[in-house]
Each structure stands twice: as C-alpha cells, then as structure tokens.
C-alpha cells in the first residue's frame, strides 16, 4: 500500500467523522491496527490480547473521529493516545488522570494553515525519529513502549520538539481566544 503523509491521514479520518466512510476507515485500519498491536506486544501484552485491544482501539477511532483536532495532533499521535489508555486497562497499570480537554465549540473549525503546518511538522518529527542513531532510537522506543522506569528515560534526544510545541501553543492560544 502507498505510504500516506500526515495531511492525507487527516483527510481520511475526516471522511470517517463526517460521512461514516468505511473505505476510509478500512485504510486507516490496515495501516494503524498492526502498529497498535505491535505497540501493545512491546508493552508486554500477549498476541491474543494485543489483537483484541488493537480492534478495540480502532472501534474507538471510528466512534471518536469527530473529536480529533488536526491543529493539535497528527492522526498517529491521536491513535497513540487512545492505545495508551487501552494499555492501562489491559495491563492493569496505575490509573493516569488526564487534564480536562480544551475542545472546539461546534462552530469553531481549526485554521487550515495551522493544520497543514502541524501535520508537516509531525511528518518531520517522525522522519527525525526514524533517523536517530540506533542506540538512541531504541532508548526512546523503550521509554514509550517498554517498561523503563522514568529515571532511565533519556532526557536529551535532539528531536525537533520546539517547533511542534510552538505550533500547538499557537493553536491553543487561538482556541482560548475563541472560547473567551
């Protein structure tokens, strides 16, 4: 299958949200379900458990598609956060309280230029992760997928997080402005 970029995944997820488009969902499933499954296996789940949970995660993607905000996350990041929550239930880990979400009102559509910029920066970040030196990449991967204690997590990765942060900050400022 042809590799998709961040903006294309956003487009497919929007079709799921707006039109309950099953072809778009199928494409998302074929790309992300095996990745979520691998993520859960790396976190200590069995094959059977991971397969089942990956399906649950994709059902959640379908149901919550309209809550996805493309000015603040890539589709991969959003699915990662859903899988992370599922992993807590599945592996009976400590609860993880979350900050209350800031949500777009029904009238508010995120700015298209913000969306495009965030998605492009997310693509760059993914590329930067892929090109990290092997040792460092494994370290980061173990921090997120494995069971490193937080003192072992690498502090310095040299990844371009600053640009994404500023972009998200801008989106949040606009959102706060729209809400006030």
């Amino acid at each position: 299958m042809k590799a998709r970029n961040g903006t294309e995944w956003v487009f497919l997820l929007k079709k799921v949200a707006d039109q309950q488009d099953k072809d778009a969902f199928t494409e998302l499933f074929e790309h992300f379900a095996p990745r979520v499954k691998a993520f859960l296996i790396k976190s200590g789940a069995t094959q059977t458990m991971a397969e089942e949970c990956a399906q649950d995660v994709m059902v959640t993607v379908w149901r919550k598609a309209s809550q996805f905000d493309p000015a603040r996350a890539s589709v991969a990041t959003w699915i990662f956060t859903i899988a992370r929550n599922r992993r807590i239930d599945m592996l009976r880990r400590d609860r993880r309280p979350e900050p209350e979400e800031l949500v777009w009102g029904p009238e508010e559509e995120p700015d298209q230029l913000d969306v495009l910029a965030l998605q492009q920066e997310s693509d760059l970040l993914s590329a930067a992760i892929a090109s990290l030196p092997e040792k460092q990449r494994i370290m980061v991967e173990r921090a997120y997928f494995g069971d490193l204690t937080h003192s072992e997590i690498a502090e310095q990765t040299g990844l371009p997080l600053g640009t994404i942060k500023s972009r998200i900050r801008l989106a949040l400022d606009r959102l706060r402005h729209a809400l006030s």
């Binding site: 499954k37 990662f80 930067a128 997120y144």
Partner: protein, 217 residues
C-alpha cells in the same frame, strides 16, 4: 503568570505513562492551569505518535485475517461516543482532574488538622506514591522536612516561599532528595497546594518524626 513549570523528564514520563498515579495527578492538574506545559506535553505525545508510525507492518505479526471484518461488524453496534459529558466538579481553586478525586470543589475537601493550623487531605491514589492537599494558613510554615524521593508541590491558592524561590498559583516545585526545605505560606490568602511524594517525607527534629507514622506525611 506561571514561572515554575514541569520538567522535560516528568512530561516525557507522563506521556509515556510511566508515572505512579499520584504523580500523573499533579502533572495533569498543572497542565490544566498551564497552556505552555499542555503544548509541551502534546509535543512529547507526538514522539509516541512518531514511534507508532515508525513501526513496520510486520513487527507485531500483523492482524489476524478476520480482524478487519470483525471490527467493521462492530462499527454500527454499540452506544454512540457522544453520551452526555460528566458534570463538572472543579471550581476556581481545584482543577477538574483534582476535583474528581475530591468528589467536588474545594468546599468538599475533608481536611484533617496536623498541628500549627496546617491541615491535609490524602487523595485516593495507588500506593506507589501519595497525593495530599495541604492547607497552610497565611504566614505559617510547613514543618521542616527533607525527602527520601521526589516531591512535587503545585500551588492552588495563595503562595509559598522556601529557600529556593516563591511559588504562586499554578507554579509547581520539583524537589528531589537532596533538598531540605521549609516552605512558608506568604501573607495574604491562606495557601492551598497539592503535594505528591514517592516516599515518606523525612522530618527534622524529634517531635515531627515521632508523629510521622500517624500523620502519613
């Protein structure tokens, strides 16, 4: 204006879901008050997304051959996701995530006096770490203590100062085991903060130490 923020290390550990519940609670509560850390957290979540994207199709062995059909069959059943949101419990003092642990706003906190006008309420988290709300009258000192682990203190009302700096609403102090400090609530409003420890605090001086097992501080 918040000047004391979460560290990269804490944000990354929270994003990767490697923190005990009590620490996650302090991180989440700070983020509700701080858009800057909310944006920084989103950038750490983006690493998780980048890593997920970077997994190859074959790595987890792929999905079973009926998996897609099974999932598609589930899409039209079940309840819609947009059920009514839970009622808000937070107020101008307690962020929503904290209010859920208290079961209401600041008036619902069940304080217990621990001497010197200082009051506390321990929140129901897993035993890996302890989260407590502290109420310190303006001008009063929290008993002098060191830590045997990390302590996070998030100010919710008023302000406190210790040897290092002054902390106001939304500020979070990260103290490690090398630090012995004596926070003093500043004049004005009584100080309310969330304090999280991953090990029992060590009090200096005999009396507080004797009291420690009873107070769970």
């Amino acid at each position: 204006m918040i000047t004391h923020h979460l560290s990269d290390r804490l944000l990354m550990a929270y994003s990767a879901d490697m923190l005990p519940e009590a620490f996650s609670l302090a991180v989440a509560a700070h983020i509700e008050l701080c858009d800057d850390c909310r944006a920084r957290l989103a950038s750490f979540d983006a690493i998780g997304g980048g890593l997920l994207e970077g997994i190859s199709d074959a790595e987890g062995g792929g999905m079973g051959k009926d998996a897609l059909a099974e999932t598609l069959a589930r899409l039209d059943t079940g309840e819609p996701a947009n059920s009514a949101p839970a009622p808000r419990l937070g107020d101008s003092i307690l962020p929503e995530t904290l209010a859920r642990y208290v079961g209401g706003g600041v008036n619902a906190v069940k304080w217990r006096g621990i001497g010197g006008g200082v009051k506390q309420a321990i929140l129901p988290t897993s035993s890996a770490a302890t989260a407590r709300l502290l109420y310190i009258p303006a001008g009063a000192a929290v008993p002098d203590h060191g830590h045997s682990g990390t302590e996070l203190t998030l100010v919710l009302q008023g302000a406190f100062a210790d040897e290092t700096a002054c902390f106001k609403r939304g500020d979070i102090e990260i103290a490690d085991e090398d630090m012995e400090h004596q926070p003093i609530a500043q004049p004005g409003l009584d100080c309310i903060c969330l304090a999280v420890t991953d090990a029992p605090l060590k009090f200096r001086g005999v009396l507080p130490r004797l009291a420690q097992p009873f107070l769970r501080i």
